[in-house]
């Protein structure tokens, strides 16, 4: 079973079309294995992306070096999955 220990979901708030282009280039980057939940399209919409723990520092550095604002939406995906699993087991009982 795939585990997501330490994976985070970042909410990114692009401030301009230039930043959208920068985020689109990030989207093309296969090595980071990013899972975009909301894609970069226009500066009025946030971008939500699940970042595996292995890429977390690099992605945060990338955003900071490009002056792009972000916040951590989900701080540990696995923790939430475990809560969900417990809830399902309780419901099943």
């Amino acid at each position: 079973q795939k585990r997501f220990i330490g994976d985070q979901v970042l909410r990114i708030e692009p401030g301009s079309n230039e930043q959208i282009s920068v985020l689109q280039s990030l989207q093309e980057e296969d090595d980071f294995q990013l899972d975009f939940w909301l894609h970069p399209t226009n500066p009025d919409l946030p971008v939500d992306v699940r970042v595996p723990i292995a890429s977390l520092q690099a992605v945060k550095d990338f955003l900071e070096s490009n002056g792009i604002r972000y916040s951590v939406m989900i701080s540990d995906v696995q923790e939430m999955l475990e809560q969900e699993q417990k809830e399902m087991e309780a419901n099943r009982r």
Partner: protein
């Protein structure tokens, strides 16, 4: 095992098997209204079942609703289960729904991507695609909402089999998509086509592959806004309404673009809750509130279809 549709826990997430068993109990509890129709098999040979709600002859106009084409969007399948029960229990009680079902049939595909859904329970909770093998690639699956024959392969879909939005080798290459297309064509007379997704609270109409306005843009925009207003009347949940391309992103090969181009004017896609706190892991205690508010919008659209047959 859930023994009766009345004892089912709608405020919980369930496996595919439990949902399929429950569909049997619903059909057994409401034999004159509900039947289970098999529309085909998935890639991994799981049956695909739509619930048919009908009070009359077979040639009636109909509304299609599907849920869970992106498997990880669990509140969607759970909402569809609640909705099926709502339709069954409200028929004969709720005047509006009764008048809809006296004129129209409703088909509800509760789990549009059964392989993906099973996989989210067994291997990877974040799985979105089908489970078909891609020759020449180690990566599995196609995004079934990039695989319809509507601007297939255009902007907003990936050529990379490892991407979560991979469009597949050809339009309708995914048997799950092909089954729906065949069923819609064979059954005929569909007047409404609604796909339910979840994440970010949107109500959308075609197109996704193009950002130009469709001919029925003004009418669908008004219907969408009315439905979103009805939805918001329960808990104040705010939805954005617009074409896929304009309010989310350009995406080709989507289901409602196909249905609209095929001639089903009232084609809509929902993105249910949430705004970004739980992602696809919306707590189970939000299933019923989500489904309840969504129902108001669905009913609103279905009333409109009933009153504007074409």
């Amino acid at each position: 095992m859930e023994r009766s549709s009345k004892s089912f826990n709608f405020a919980a997430y369930h496996t595919l098997e439990t949902i399929y068993d429950w569909m049997d109990t619903l059909a057994a509890d409401y034999p004159h209204l509900v039947s289970k129709v098999q529309i085909g098999f998935s890639y991994e040979q799981r049956p695909m079942y739509a619930l048919k709600f009908s009070t009359g002859s077979s040639s009636r106009p109909a509304i299609w609703i599907d849920a869970g084409i992106h498997s990880r969007e669990w509140v969607t399948q759970a909402t569809a289960v609640w909705t099926a029960n709502k339709i069954a229990t409200d028929y004969g009680q709720d005047r509006s729904l009764t008048s809809i079902l006296d004129m129209l049939d409703i088909y509800l595909l509760v789990v549009a991507n059964p392989d993906g859904y099973a996989y989210t329970h067994s291997n990877n909770r974040m799985w979105r695609k089908t489970r078909s093998k891609n020759p020449g690639s180690v990566c599995v699956g196609v995004d079934p909402n990039r695989n319809w024959d509507a601007g297939f392969g255009g902007p907003g879909a990936s050529t990379n089999p490892c991407s979560d939005s991979y469009h597949g080798p050809s339009a309708q290459s995914e048997v799950e998509v092909k089954n729906v297309v065949n069923f819609i064509k064979q059954t005929g007379n569909f007047k409404g086509f609604i796909s339910i997704h979840s994440y970010s609270q949107l109500l959308m109409y075609p197109h996704g592959y193009s950002c130009n306005n469709i001919p029925d843009y003004q009418e669908l925009d008004a219907v969408g806004k009315s439905a979103a207003k009805a939805l918001g009347s329960l808990y104040g949940t705010s939805y954005k309404v617009g074409s896929i391309c304009k309010i989310i992103y350009q995406a080709s090969g989507g289901s409602i673009d196909w249905s609209y181009n095929y001639g089903i004017k009232y084609s809509f896609a929902f993105e249910l809750r949430d705004t970004g706190r739980y992602g696809f892991l919306l707590p189970a205690n939000q299933i019923i509130p989500t489904a309840s508010e969504t129902w108001l919008a669905l009913l609103n659209i279905m009333e409109y279809v009933r009153d504007h047959t074409y």
